[in-house]
Symmetry: C2
Subunit: 192 residues, 2 copies
């Protein structure tokens, strides 16, 4: 019934995500996006809305894959401490292995815009809630299995872990000492 799109919408969104992830919202121009996505501006606007809408879509795409990865890891039939160490270690390695050293797209977005953009603020708050709930469930699992002292407050430990998730992704953006970063994991796990 009409002329078909000659580009893949999801692939374009992925491309946009990578640009925003590297350069931030204000640091990315429409020209940066159209170049990377290999479409022209009118197609971008017709398909994804304006710059802000595209950014939010890209951020949500990122968060979905991040959450899925974490939910998968939590399902593993391994000791809880091992799962937590795997999560933290993978974050370190992924950050160090990224040739562009972009850190975490959610953290980057929080520090750039959460204080000025209510929609981004809500997404960040919701993300925190979701991840903390995944972590708290994991810790409660460790408590019922006897791996973690049941006197401890699972919610607080989850917040503690969440703080360390965020901190690690900031540090790993400028510190490349893999051995050193990994050795900090022992200290983190000793608090659980």
């Amino acid at each position: 019934m009409a002329r078909p799109k000659k580009f893949d919408e999801a692939a374009g969104l992925q491309k946009a995500m990578n640009v925003f992830w590297k350069k931030g919202y204000a640091g990315t121009s429409i020209s940066d996006l159209t170049t990377s996505m290999e479409i022209n501006a009118p197609s971008l606007y017709a398909t994804y809305g304006d710059k802000h809408k595209l950014f939010v879509s890209a951020l949500q795409t990122y968060l979905q894959s991040q959450h899925e990865w974490m939910r998968q890891a939590v399902l593993e039939q391994k000791p809880v401490r091992e799962i937590i160490r795997y999560l933290l270690a993978t974050l370190i390695d992924a950050t160090l292995e990224d040739p562009e050293r972009r850190g975490c797209f959610m953290v980057n977005t929080i520090t750039e815009m959460a204080n000025q953009d209510t929609q981004v603020f809500r997404i960040a708050a919701d993300n925190e809630h979701q991840i903390r709930s995944i972590l708290a469930d994991l810790i409660r699992k460790g408590q019922t299995s006897g791996e973690i002292a049941s006197e401890k407050d699972a919610e607080i430990l989850a917040s503690f872990l969440f703080i360390n998730f965020m901190g690690i992704r900031v540090i790993a953006a400028t510190n490349s000492d893999k051995k050193h970063l990994h050795s900090a994991l022992d200290a983190i796990l000793s608090a659980i």
Copy 2:
């Protein structure tokens, strides 16, 4: 011998710092700066160089006061754990009390630019080195006084603390639950 400046150079730098801190580097325009600093563009360029030079000066001003605050706190004649708790608690409170919720200027800058600006990258790496060294000294002090187990590696504990410093400043930008944030401090301190 010449017409005198009618504005205070240090005060202007402080104003610029507050704008960059709130809006980031790319998000701040020269117009934002001249408005807040109450000078015109030619005066800005003559006094502080270009936008990037002014930004770096503002960042270094911020880091100096941050470091001074931390060095002061570390000198206190109090139990080491108490000092560490004070440092973390003050970071939480300061972030929550800031009506603009700007978080940490250094963290914001790392996540915005460290992967694209070698000068910023170096400043961030140097800052990490300095703060980790202050914290490691503090921990060694606690080890000689018997407050902290001397088997533990002071450098690693310092890195652990640094991670939590960074993490807390990211979280506190979107989470306003003061009681909750403070209760995570117990978990942090239990690892020391």
